[in-house]
């Protein structure tokens, strides 16, 4: 029997396959099906502070203050007190998931303001989240802001939130940092317990018919896992933070590769959206089969065995590809030319 368990931000998971933030967690039934399929933990769909603010604006204008000043109508939409804000719906759902699921539930938060992060993070902890995943994507488009300032934003919010909640905090990052290992070190010092690499974003697109911007979110492709694999391999052993790989895992192959590179957990989303929770069971079985075939006895044994530090040629992970092509013209160090 292979021991698939893994440790993630202090949580003991029965295996490293964790569905990441996706609509699948919006419904209790599908969340239960994910657990039944074998998920090691569940990251809830993200609560977006911006969505919350938009909803507040909608409520304020169209439900609470819809009067025009005309004598025949003092509003247009009935407000019969059934209204539950998307925050309360999220928290209620979180409570319900905590009540019904045995696996850890990680709440995911996408904030825009410092106060929003702290306020909402506290609410999530109170509702029973086992950990918080902060979806901290920020488009650094301000030419007046240096990279340091951008990084400082992340650190400030982490420190603020750290001061307000006790549950582990996972930072879900984008790949767009000048020096990711350096930044990760800072996050560690600021109190993060884990990082998730990497965020996938809504990318604005241009509609050539209307010449308007449209938002697009495509499902991931397996080769996206490679970027994650590289950075996890580089970070493994250089940080005490637990590492989650997210993006591009569509089969056991990517999962195994990411674990070899050093991931503590492997997140799944696109493949589950495409094939349903059963895909998780399939990946788990195939992973086990692969490990069993190669006589691995545990995930712990496998985890990080091909991290950059453990590679015979560490530069393989750190160099850009065209450099490696040039290397092919050099003789091995042990051969006399």
């Amino acid at each position: 029997m292979i021991d698939l368990s893994t440790d993630y931000v202090g949580l003991k998971l029965k295996n490293p396959l964790v569905p990441s933030a996706s609509p699948l967690s919006k419904n209790l039934d599908s969340a239960l099906r994910l657990e039944d399929a074998g998920a090691g933990a569940l990251v809830m769909y993200s609560l977006f502070e911006e969505e919350l603010r938009a909803e507040e604006a909608m409520t304020d204008r169209f439900l609470l203050h819809a009067d025009l000043g005309h004598g025949e109508a003092d509003g247009f939409l009935p407000d019969h007190g059934h209204f539950t804000s998307c925050l309360d719906q999220y928290l209620d759902h979180l409570r319900q998931l905590k009540q019904r699921l045995e696996i850890p539930v990680i709440a995911s938060l996408n904030g825009v303001s410092l106060s929003g992060w702290v306020e909402l993070g506290k609410e999530m902890q109170q509702a029973g989240a086992d950990a918080l995943e902060l979806n901290v994507y920020h488009v650094a488009a301000d030419a007046a802001q240096s990279g340091d300032v951008v990084e400082a934003r992340y650190l400030t919010l982490l420190e603020e939130l750290r001061g307000s909640v006790n549950v582990p905090i996972i930072m879900k990052l984008s790949p767009y940092f000048s020096s990711l290992p350096h930044f990760v070190k800072q996050l560690e010092q600021a109190g993060a317990r884990g990082i998730a690499l990497f965020n996938r974003f809504m990318q604005p697109d241009i509609d050539l018919d209307s010449l308007r911007m449209v938002d697009q979110l495509h499902l991931s492709y397996p080769d996206e896992a490679l970027l994650r694999m590289r950075w996890i391999a580089i970070l493994r052993g250089r940080t005490a933070l637990t590492l989650a790989a997210t993006g591009g895992v569509h089969g056991y192959e990517e999962a195994i590769k990411l674990l070899l590179a050093g991931a503590d957990v492997v997140h799944l989303a696109s493949c589950l959206l495409q094939h349903g929770p059963a895909k998780l069971t399939q990946i788990l079985h195939e992973m086990e089969a692969w490990m069993s075939e190669r006589e691995y006895i545990s995930v712990a044994q496998l985890k990080g065995s091909m991290s950059q530090q453990n590679l015979p040629d560490p530069s393989a992970m750190a160099r850009a590809s065209y450099i490696r092509v040039i290397e092919h013209y050099e003789a091995p160090r042990g051969v006399w030319r």
């Binding site: 919350l52 909803e55 507040e56 909608m58 409520t59 304020d60 169209f62 439900l63 609470l64 203050h65 819809a66 009067d67 025009l68 000043g69 005309h70 004598g71 025949e72 109508a73 003092d74 509003g75 247009f76 939409l77 009935p78 019969h80 007190g81 059934h82 209204f83 539950t84 804000s85 998307c86 925050l87 309360d88 719906q89 929003g116 306020e119 010449l211």
Partner: protein
């Protein structure tokens, strides 16, 4: 323990009605709509009635429908009720006769409102209830919010005991909408008032197959009469039954009412008799006068039917010598109004029987259509009674300089009671939350203190940029002042919008030594200099304190955007001294929590922050020692706007503008139209200047497509072509460029010009503009820019633009967007909401056919922005021709329009007959041409007009005996285009029967349904046009059934031209449809998708949502043209492509759908799936029709 409530009359009555009933069938009508809405809200919250069940609330298709449903519920054993007013009550009448004839216990709660006669009025008087006095229903009148609650219960108890149905009524708006602090009727009291034995008796009488009977027979001359008399004992007994109910109520609550309550001097010689809210003012005045030794009194009539003459006479003091009976209604042609005649009959009979001496009795009308009724007017009536020969019939409250029936009154009269009150007046914008904040303040004061509180709110007739004036009173004793805060009586006046300082006489209400609070960006140190001279004089003269706050800056700083209501409310409490400051602020915060707590803690926190910041930013301005200034020294008051420089028509000068400036009350009878007829084209004089930003045309990149003009809801951006020479003397900033179209001769120039003072700033033109600067996508061919700096120059430009000669219509392509948008709109600057989705359709129709249009307009938004005084948006072209418009009712509009068609056709036939008769006189060729004229197209119509001119020239000099007759009907030789316009409430619901009938006939009418998918005007009630899953009033859990496919139903006739259109999705189809409908010689139905603020999104995105509606299959575009069938083709043409987006993309952008996700997420999901399926199915059906697979009716014209 006594508990208090702070609520309005509607809620007060509805609370009782809800507890005592099982079935509530309603239909929305102002000012009673809120009663049904409260009932719906309570039912939706699962609140039980007296017996622990949740009443069934049902919205019907009309009041007639509600009445029928109630009748059925009552006769089958349920306790049932409804709420209505005015025209709605009229529709109840047939069933009221039935319900009374069958002795079914029932209470109908009525917010009494004027009936439409020469004009519609949404305001209060008794003409509706007085129209019901023969129905056999008892009539019980409540005079105040307290009584509206108490009498609602007493009426229910009495009807159960006596089996006579009761119309329980109170004054629309004055009582239905007045917020007051009242003593609550506790549930135990309700329980104790309703006798379950009587309820059981009602159930025993119910129709039941277990013990069947038959009701509603048809009777013959032998027994009908006797049967009719059989119920007399019930009427004889009812006054006592009602008094018994009142007495029982008194035991339970301590509030004793009598059928006729007398107040005043025990030895009164002069007495006023009246019922309704005016009785409160009369009582206040009687107290004032008796305190000065005057022998006056007041008799309040509670039970009007059955009329209990003995009880009335018994209530009058024996000392009475003169009586004035006041009626809040008018019976033209009668020798007195109903209450007057009933009272005089009672007195005369008693006098004839020798029971009393006959006093002098006079009758007067007051308060029609919510006309103010003040203590000064009451005093004037008493004064009239002292005269030797008082006016037997009089009116009070107006100046009647025609029949001289009106009494003069002292406008400066102030009652003792009024002087003892704290009074406050607040000027705000409809959208700035002033009214809701004031309602909240009343609650705060009412709950936190022993003070009595009253609030009344004066609204605007406009839907965009509406101004509200809130009148608040607080005092230690019951507040009976059922009139607005009078001049010089407000210890606190607040102006929530800086611009009002220039527009309105804000300080007329201010009392000497009072406080004036102004929201202004000017700091306390320098604000003095920013005020108009007259205002400064008023401040000095009255010794007012001036406090200022920059509420918008505080709101922005506090993260509240432009929401200032809590900030201004905090200021009120901080400086008015009504409550200790800390207590008030704690109460405001509590109220904030109640409002926002569940929806957003963050918003609550922001409000908290704003409240705290407010106090830091509220400052008293130092008023410079300028010495006492007399008002007489300052110049006249410029109110409303800078008047146009060109000459004003006399009517506009003498009538329209005074009304607009708020001085309509002072206009005498002689200036009024005798029959409700008003001149058109007066909206142009308002110049409301409500837009913060207006569009600016970028001529260099504009392709002159006309789309900005096409979408403009207020006709505030226009296009014209003209010769280059015509603009040689143009103002310096007037923009014009060579016309790009090859349709015009070389040297033709073109301009798109904004009406800077009429634009509402919606931005729809910018959204519609398809042109982008190739190098900078954010720059379009129209862009919004701040209005103030542009106003003056653009005003000149617009005046110049309008003065340009009209381009020859025949040289313009009417079938293209750019061409048709060169046609002048004959519907402009209406009071519709900014970004209204309805008005572009109306404007388009007037551009194309305005000079020949007759419009029948159903009551609703389109009749309000189309015909609400002071101004009229329908206007005329250079030749003085334009749409002639009228509104009959809500329910009969299709028939009304058909009548217009029939008249036009009949008179045309007659005129042609005369032309033939006079052929030798007018010339055979001309006569023949006129009779045979083809006028379907504009050219033919214009040719006919030319012929008619010729004809008239000949007839004027003709000696033929029938020449004059032909002159009188000659204009009917010109074809008229009849347009029947209304909303979905009319077309899908209340007027559907008539609409269907008119569609079934072959007559040439164009029916334009402005489909907002909800009752927009009355505040968003569900109609049969409401789509599945949409939240609307009476569908709080989402509408569970699909929208009626009106177009499809109409097309089933086969001979009706039908189209589904959405201009924001496909303007070319819209334009084409209007032409096809007009050219079709038979009934045409255009169902026009009209986004509305009730959908819950900003109207800037009006066109985007129309586009989404079409692209998702929510609103497929199609045309059904019977002419195609006649020529062997397929009449059904699908004009929109296969839905390319899921319907949820459309729904996600609108609060009406999105909020269901927050209130009923599972239902939302379910409805979403159904909506998607239904959209797909509907489109598939349409595709089949378009491909000729399905049975397309082919009975073409």
């Amino acid at each position: 323990m006594t508990s208090f409530l702070n609520l309005d009359g509607n809620e007060a009555a509805a609370r009782m009605a809800y507890q005592c009933n099982e079935v509530i069938a309603i239909y929305p009508i102002t000012p009673s709509s809120n009663m049904g809405e409260w009932a719906d809200e309570w039912a939706s919250q699962g609140k039980p009635n007296l017996w622990g069940a949740v009443p069934k609330i049902i919205e019907m298709q009309s009041e007639g429908g509600a009445a029928g449903a109630l009748h059925g519920a009552l006769t089958s054993g349920a306790l049932a009720t409804s709420f209505t007013a005015s025209q709605g009550l009229l529709l109840f009448i047939p069933n009221l006769y039935k319900i009374a004839g069958e002795l079914s216990p029932f209470v109908l709660h009525v917010a009494a409102r004027a009936l439409a006669t020469h004009a519609l009025s949404i305001f209060g008087d008794h003409s509706d209830v007085m129209a019901c006095r023969a129905t056999g229903c008892a009539m019980l009148c409540a005079n105040s919010v307290q009584e509206a609650q108490d009498f609602a219960l007493i009426a229910q108890a009495a009807t159960l005991a006596g089996r006579i149905p009761v119309i329980h009524f109170f004054d629309g708006f004055r009582t239905s909408h007045e917020v007051a602090k009242i003593v609550a009727v506790e549930p135990e009291t309700v329980r104790a008032m309703i006798d379950d034995v009587q309820v059981a008796a009602h159930r025993t009488r119910a129709l039941s197959p277990e013990h069947p009977v038959l009701r509603g027979t048809s009777q013959n001359p032998d027994v009908f009469f006797q049967s009719r008399e059989r119920a007399n004992p019930f009427y004889d007994a009812f006054p006592d039954i009602m008094q018994t109910a009142m007495d029982r109520f008194a035991v339970l609550t301590g509030r004793q009412y009598r059928l006729y309550d007398y107040v005043g001097a025990a030895d009164a010689e002069r007495v006023i008799v009246l019922m309704g809210s005016g009785a409160e003012t009369a009582e206040e005045t009687v107290q004032h006068l008796t305190a000065r030794g005057e022998k006056v009194g007041l008799l309040k009539v509670r039970l009007y039917r059955p009329f209990a003459a003995d009880a009335l006479l018994a209530a009058l003091p024996e000392s009475v010598k003169a009586i004035a009976v006041l009626d809040r209604c008018k019976e033209p042609g009668a020798d007195g109004e109903p209450l007057y005649k009933d009272v005089i009959t009672a007195l005369a009979q008693a006098a004839a029987d020798g029971l009393c001496a006959m006093p002098k009795v006079i009758g007067g009308r007051y308060g029609l259509g919510s006309k103010e009724f003040t203590p000064g007017m009451v005093a004037a009536v008493f004064a009239e009674l002292t005269r030797e020969r008082p006016k037997r019939q009089f009116s009070i409250g107006i100046r009647d300089d025609v029949t001289h029936l009106s009494l003069d009154w002292d406008a400066a009269f102030r009652s003792d009671a009024a002087r003892g009150l704290q009074q406050a007046v607040f000027w705000g914008l409809g959208a700035d939350g002033t009214v809701s904040a004031n309602k909240n303040s009343i609650k705060i004061v009412g709950e936190a203190t022993d003070l009595q509180a009253q609030g009344y709110f004066v609204y605007d007739s406009k839907k965009s940029g509406a101004v509200t004036v809130s009148h608040l009173r607080f005092g230690p004793a019951a507040i009976r002042s059922t009139y607005l805060v009078e001049e010089g009586m407000a210890g606190f006046v607040a102006c929530h919008q800086t611009v009002f300082v220039e527009r309105y006489d804000l300080l007329a209400h201010a009392a000497p030594g009072g406080v004036f609070l102004l929201n202004t960006p000017s700091p306390a140190e320098s604000v003095w200099g920013s005020l108009p001279e007259k205002m400064r004089a008023q401040i000095v003269d009255k010794g007012l304190q001036l406090w200022v706050i920059d509420a918008y800056a505080v709101a922005a700083e506090a993260g509240m955007g432009r929401r200032i209501n809590t900030i201004m409310q905090t200021c009120f409490f901080a400086i008015s001294g009504i409550l200790p400051k800390d207590q008030a602020i704690a109460a405001i915060k509590k109220a904030v929590d109640k409002t926002y707590g569940k929806k957003s803690k963050r918003l609550a926190d922001l409000n908290y922050g704003a409240i705290d910041k407010t106090l830091e930013h509220l400052h008293q301005a130092v008023i410079p020692d300028v010495g006492r200034q007399s008002l007489a020294d300052s110049g006249g008051w410029v109110v409303g706007k800078v008047l146009p420089t060109y000459d004003l028509p006399a009517f506009v000068r003498d009538v329209t503008l005074p009304i607009y400036h708020g001085n309509g009350d002072a206009l005498p009878v002689s200036l009024m139209s005798i029959d409700g007829t008003f001149p058109v084209g007066t909206a142009q004089y308002e110049k409301r200047n409500i837009a913060l930003e207006i569009p600016v045309w970028e001529a260099d990149i504009c392709t002159q497509c006309g789309k900005c003009v096409f979408v403009c809801p207020h006709s505030a951006i226009r296009a014209r072509v003209f010769s280059a020479e015509a603009v040689s003397n143009a103002p310096p900033t007037f923009k014009h460029v060579p016309a790009k179209s090859k349709d015009f001769p070389a040297g033709t120039h073109m301009s798109y010009q904004v009406a800077p003072e009429d634009c509402t700033g919606c931005g729809d033109c910018v959204e519609a503009c398809p042109i982008h600067d190739k190098s900078n996508l954010s720059r379009r061919a129209v862009n919004m820019a701040e209005q103030a700096p542009l106003r003056e120059a653009e005003r000149d430009n617009y005046a110049f633009f309008l003065a340009l000669p009209e381009f020859d219509r025949s040289a313009v392509k009417h079938t293209t967007i750019p061409g048709s948008m060169l046609l002048d709109p004959l519907f402009e600057y209406s009071g519709a909401c900014a970004g209204c989705g309805e008005t572009p359709y109306i404007r388009l129709a007037t551009q194309l056919f305005g000079d020949r249009m007759l419009i029948a307009n159903a009551t609703g938004c389109s009749s309000i922005y189309g015909g609400n005084l002071p101004t009229t948006p329908y206007t005329v072209n250079g030749a003085g021709r334009g749409p002639a418009w009228s509104n009959s009712l809500f329910e009969d509009n299709a028939e009304f329009g058909l009548g217009m068609r029939l008249a036009a056709d009949q008179l045309m036939i007659y005129a042609k007959q005369l032309v033939k008769e006079l052929a030798s006189e007018v010339g055979g060729d001309l006569a023949n041409a006129m009779v045979e004229a083809d006028q379907r197209e504009e050219a033919g119509l214009y040719e006919q007009r030319r012929r008619v001119t010729l004809l008239l020239e000949k007839l004027v000099v003709s000696q033929h005996p029938r020449a004059k007759e032909l002159i009188s009907v000659a204009e009917w030789l010109i074809r008229r285009s009849v347009w029947i316009i209304g909303g979905d409430g009319w077309a899908y619901d209340i007027g559907y029967g008539g609409l269907d009938h008119v569609l079934a006939l072959p007559y040439d009418v164009n029916i334009l349904v402005l489909d907002t998918e909800v009752y927009s005007n009355t505040g968003g009630q569900t109609s049969k046009a409401t789509p599945i899953g949409a939240v609307a009033k009476f569908s709080a859990g989402g509408k569970a059934t699909a929208k009626k496919d009106l177009g499809k139903l109409a097309s089933d006739y086969g001979h009706v031209y039908v189209a589904n259109i959405a201009y924001g999705a496909k303007d070319t189809q819209t334009l084409r449809v209007f032409h096809e409908a007009e050219s079709y010689d038979g009934p045409s139905l255009i169902v026009a998708y009209s986004p509305c603020i009730a959908h819950g999104f900003d109207m800037l995105y009006n066109q985007r949502q129309q586009d989404m509606a079409v692209k998702t299959g929510h609103w497929p575009l199609f045309r059904y043209d019977p002419r195609m069938a006649a020529s062997g083709g397929n009449p059904f043409k699908l004009d929109s492509a296969v839905p390319s987006l899921p319907i949820k993309d459309f729904m996600a952008n609108e609060t009406r759908f999105a909020m269901l996700q927050r209130s009923h997420p599972e239902a939302a999901q379910h409805f979403l799936e159904l909506a998607q399926k239904q959209a797909e199915q509907r489109f598939k059906t349409y595709q089949e029709l378009a491909q000729g697979h399905a049975d397309v009716p082919k009975t073409g014209a």
